[in-house]
Symmetry: C2
Subunit: 463 residues, 2 copies
C-alpha cells in the first residue's frame, strides 16, 4: 500500500486532476490519496487557500463576502464542469462554504481554521467524486472519520499518539481513499489545522499509520537537485537521500519539503519519494533511512543567506566554567535561537538568523554580553551566508574537508567560520553573503562535475 | 629598563649563576632580575622547591627534618663556595630555614607557603651577594619591600591593583635589583604564593609595574619551535609570536610558558622575549602584540591528547530554544569545563579534557543528558587529540584551511571534528590520539617545510 500526496499545483485544475487520476490508475498500490487545496494554475493566479483567508477576514470584519465566495465556488465549478461531473457536487461545496462563512465566529481562530481547511476538504470531496465517475471506486474520508486526533492549537496542531492506532483500520478498505490534507480534530471534536504546508504532514501521518511501503509526495519538479538550480546551471538530480541529509539540506535553503512533516514517516521508517505530477515516469528522489554512499559521499550542497555572527573575545575565556552557558542564557532570555557556536581558546562566535534582531534588540544583546560577561571585545558581522556540504557518506572518506576547502580557495572565497561535528553528516562554512553563489558553484564543480580543476596545486592568496 | 627572569635550571648552580651575571653585565638595561629557586643540575637531581615540600611535610607530621634541612642548606652552600662567597650568606640562609621550619605550623597552608617561597627568596639573597662580590652593585628586594600585594589565597594568589602603583618606585633605583619570584604578600602581611611556575608571574608583574621596554624570560631553550621537537625533527624556530598566538599554542601542549603569567605584560603592552641562559646570543622568540604576518601566516602547530567528545543527536534539535544552554548547564552542574562545541543541525559534539571524568561521573553525565534533554542518541569517544593550527596571519589569506585539510588527507588522517571561529587565530581539528603525530608532521611539511607534496592532486581515500 502506498500513500500519495498531491500538492497545490498538482490539483489546481481539471487537467491536473486528470493526471493525478492516471497516476492512481497506473499503480493499484496507490490506495490513500491526500490532496491539497487547488493551487495556482498560472503565475498570477491566486491559491484557493489565499481566497479563503481573504473571505474569512472580510466576514470577521462584517464586510460583504459575496465576491470572494463566488470566486471560490467558481474555482470548484470550473474544475467540476471540465471533468463532466454532476451539478450536485458543486452545490454541495457551495452549500458547505455558505454554511461555514455564516457559522459562529466568536472564536476567530477556530472560524478561520474551519474556513481554511475547507480548501482541502472540498477538493477531496470533488476528487473522490471524479474518481468514481471514471470508474475508480473511491471514498472521500474526512480526518475525523479517519481518526486524525491532534492538539487543540489552531494553526499549529501536533498529532496525538492515538491517531496512529485509529488509522490502522484504513488498511482494510478496498477502495481508493481520498483524504483532505492540512487538518485534524482535537479530542473535543474541534477542527484544527497544522502549520502551513501541512498537507505534507497529513500524508506522512497516514503513511505511518497504515505502515505504507512508500509515501509518495507529488509536486511539480522531477526531483531534488544536488544544488540550487538558480545558482548552478543544470545541476545533477539526487536519486537517493537519507532523512538526515534531507533535514540538513532543507535547513539551508532547500525548500522542497516542509521538513517537520517528515517526522512521522522518519520514525516509522517509511521511505518517501518526491515525484513530479507532470512527469510521473521520472524516478524522482527517494528519501530513505540508509543509502549506498560509495558513489556519492556528498549528497548535496545547500546555502542560505540572512545570517549574522556575534564575535566575543576574553583573555582566559576557556578557564571560566559557565562562560558559554551564560552567553547562551542571554540569547535565550531574549528569545533568540542560535545555529552554531564555533570557538577558539579565548574567543567564540555565535551564528544566528539575523531576522531575529531588530536594531534595538541587537544593541541590547551586545550590551548585555559586554557588561554581564565582562568580555574584552565584542562585535557583530551582518550579511553572512551559511553553506552546508551534506552527505552521510562523508564519514567514510578521508579528504572530503580538503576537497571542500580547496573549492573555496579556488573560487577565491574566504571561509569565515568552519564547523564540523563528529557525526560528519554535514560541514558548515560561513562566508560573506555575496560570496555564496561562487562558493556553491565551486563546491558543485569539486564534488559533482568532474572538472580538471581539482588537480591544480593550491597557492595561498592574499585577501 | 628590562626585567629579566631566570628559571630553575638557569640558577641551579654556580656555573649557571655566572652565566646569568654575564648576561646582566652584557646589557646595562637589565636592571630588575627575578630568580627562581635552584632547579635541577642534571636529570636525576631534585629541585630545591621539591626538597622544601618534603621538608615541610615531615615537619607537619612531627618527623625529623634534619636530613632534608641539611640537603637544602648544602645546595646553597655548594653554590656559595663555588662562587667564592663569604660564609655569612650561607649562615644567613641556614638560619632562615631553621627559623621557618620551627615556626608556627597551626595553619598548614601558610606554613607550606612560607617554606616553599624560601627557595626563591634565599636564592635571590645569595645571587645579590654574588653580584656585589664581582663588582655589580645589586640589592636583594623582598616582594614586601617591592610592594607586591596579592589576594590571601595560598598557592593561587592573584595580584591586587595597588601592586602596579607600588612598583613604580623601583624605577628610581640605580643598582641591579634581585627579586625572588613566586610570591607576594596579602594586605594583612601574610606571605602567599602564586600557582606553581609563578616566578614567571612575578617577572610579568614587575615588567608591567616599571613599564619595562622588554620582559626577558630566560630558560634552557634557544626559542620556541613551530612544532613539538619530540614529533618533528629539527623544527623551525619561531622568531616572533603574538600574545594571542602564544596563548593558543600553550593551550595545546606548548608548555614553554605558564600562560596566565603573560596577563600583566599583555595588558601593559610589554614585549616578552624567551631566551636561553646557555646561549644568550641566540635571538630567542619575541612575543608581541602585533607582528608582520606576511612571511609566516601560520605561527605554529600544537597538539595535545587527553580529550574526549560527547556526541548528542536529536531530531529538530535546532528548533529547540535553550537546548545548547541546558546541555552546558548539566556540565556546569557537574563542574566540567568544555573546550569546543561543534554542531550540525540536529546534533552537537562537546569536546572536553577527559581527566575531568571518572567512570561514575561519565555515566551520570551521559544519563542526565539522555533523560533531561530527551535526546535520540548519545555516545562518547575517548582518546582523542586536539590539533591547533595557530596564526593571526591566517585571517589575511585565502586557502589556509584548504592547505591544512589537505595535509591531513595526505597523511591519511581522518578529521573527526573541525572548529574555526571568526577570529581565525586558530583552527581546531580533533583526531584519534594515535593519529596526532602523523598529522602534526604533515601540517609541518605543508606550512613550514616547502616540500613538493603540496602539488600532488588530492584523491579521496576510503577509510
Amino acid at each position: 500500500m502506498k500513500v500519495a500526496k498531491f500538492g497545490g499545483t498538482s490539483v489546481a485544475s481539471a487537467e491536473q486532476l486528470k493526471k493525478v487520476a492516471n497516476i492512481i490508475k497506473a499503480d493499484p498500490e496507490r490506495k490513500i490519496i491526500v490532496v491539497s487545496a487547488p493551487g495556482k494554475r498560472f503565475k498570477e493566479d491566486t491559491k484557493v487557500t489565499d481566497l479563503l483567508i481573504a473571505l474569512g477576514e472580510r466576514a470577521l470584519k462584517g464586510e460583504s463576502t459575496d465576491e470572494q465566495l463566488t470566486a471560490i465556488i467558481n474555482r470548484y465549478k470550473d474544475i467540476a464542469e471540465d471533468l463532466n461531473l454532476s451539478k450536485e457536487i458543486v452545490d454541495e461545496i457551495a452549500e458547505n462554504l455558505k454554511e461555514l462563512v455564516n457559522s459562529d465566529c466568536s472564536n476567530k481562530e477556530r472560524f478561520m481554521d474551519r474556513l481554511k481547511a475547507s480548501g482541502e476538504d472540498n477538493n477531496a470531496k470533488l476528487f473522490a467524486n471524479y474518481l468514481n465517475s471514471i470508474g475508480i471506486a473511491a471514498s472521500y474520508v474526512n480526518p475525523k472519520e479517519a481518526g486524525i486526533i491532534v492538539t487543540d492549537d489552531p494553526g499549529n496542531a501536533q498529532t496525538l499518539p492515538e491517531t496512529y492506532e485509529n488509522l490502522k483500520k484504513l488498511k482494510d478498505r478496498k477502495e481508493v481513499l481520498v483524504v483532505p490534507g492540512f487538518f485534524g480534530f482535537s479530542p473535543e471534536g474541534n477542527l484544527v489545522t497544522f502549520s502551513r504546508g501541512g498537507s505534507d504532514i497529513t500524508g506522512s501521518i497516514l503513511a505511518a499509520g497504515v505502515d505504507a511501503e512508500l509515501y509518495e509526495n507529488f509536486t511539480d519538479v522531477d526531483s531534488v537537485f544536488v544544488a540550487n538550480p538558480n545558482i548552478v546551471e543544470n545541476p545533477k538530480e539526487i536519486k537517493e537521500l537519507t532523512y538526515k541529509e534531507m533535514r540538513e539540506l532543507s535547513y539551508a535553503g532547500f525548500s522542497v519539503f516542509h521538513d517537520e512533516a517528515l517526522i512521522p514517516a522518519f520514525r516509522a521508517g517509511i521511505p518517501v519519494c518526491i515525484k513530479n505530477t507532470n512527469n510521473p515516469s521520472a524516478p524522482g528522489t527517494l528519501i530513505v533511512a540508509k543509502r549506498d554512499y560509495s558513489k556519492e559521499p556528498v549528497a548535496g550542497i545547500a546555502s542560505d543567506t540572512g545570517f549574522c555572527s556575534i564575535y566575543v573575545s576574553k583573555y582566559l575565556m576557556n578557564r571560566e566554567i559557565g562562560f558559554g552557558r551564560r552567553l547562551l542564557q542571554i540569547l535565550e532570555d531574549e528569545g533568540i535561537s542560535y545555529e552554531h557556536m564555533p570557538s577558539g581558546i579565548d574567543d567564540t562566535s555565535i551564528i544566528l538568523r539575523e531576522n531575529q534582531l531588530t536594531p534595538e534588540k541587537e544593541e541590547r544583546v551586545l550590551k548585555r554580553i559586554k557588561t554581564e560577561l565582562n568580555v574584552d571585545t565584542i562585535s557583530i558581522r551582518h550579511n553572512q551566508a551559511v553553506i552546508m556540504v551534506v552527505g552521510e557518506g562523508m564519514t567514510s572518506y578521508i579528504g572530503i574537508s580538503a576537497k571542500a576547502t580547496a573549492a573555496f580557495a579556488r573560487a577565491g572565497v574566504n571561509i569565515e567560520m568552519i564547523n564540523q561535528g563528529s557525526s560528519e553528516v554535514s560541514m558548515m562554512f560561513a562566508v560573506a553573503a555575496e560570496d555564496a553563489p561562487k562558493a556553491v558553484q565551486a563546491l558543485y564543480n569539486e564534488f559533482f562535475a568532474n572538472t580538471k580543476e581539482q588537480e591544480m596545486p593550491l597557492v595561498l592568496e592574499m585577501k
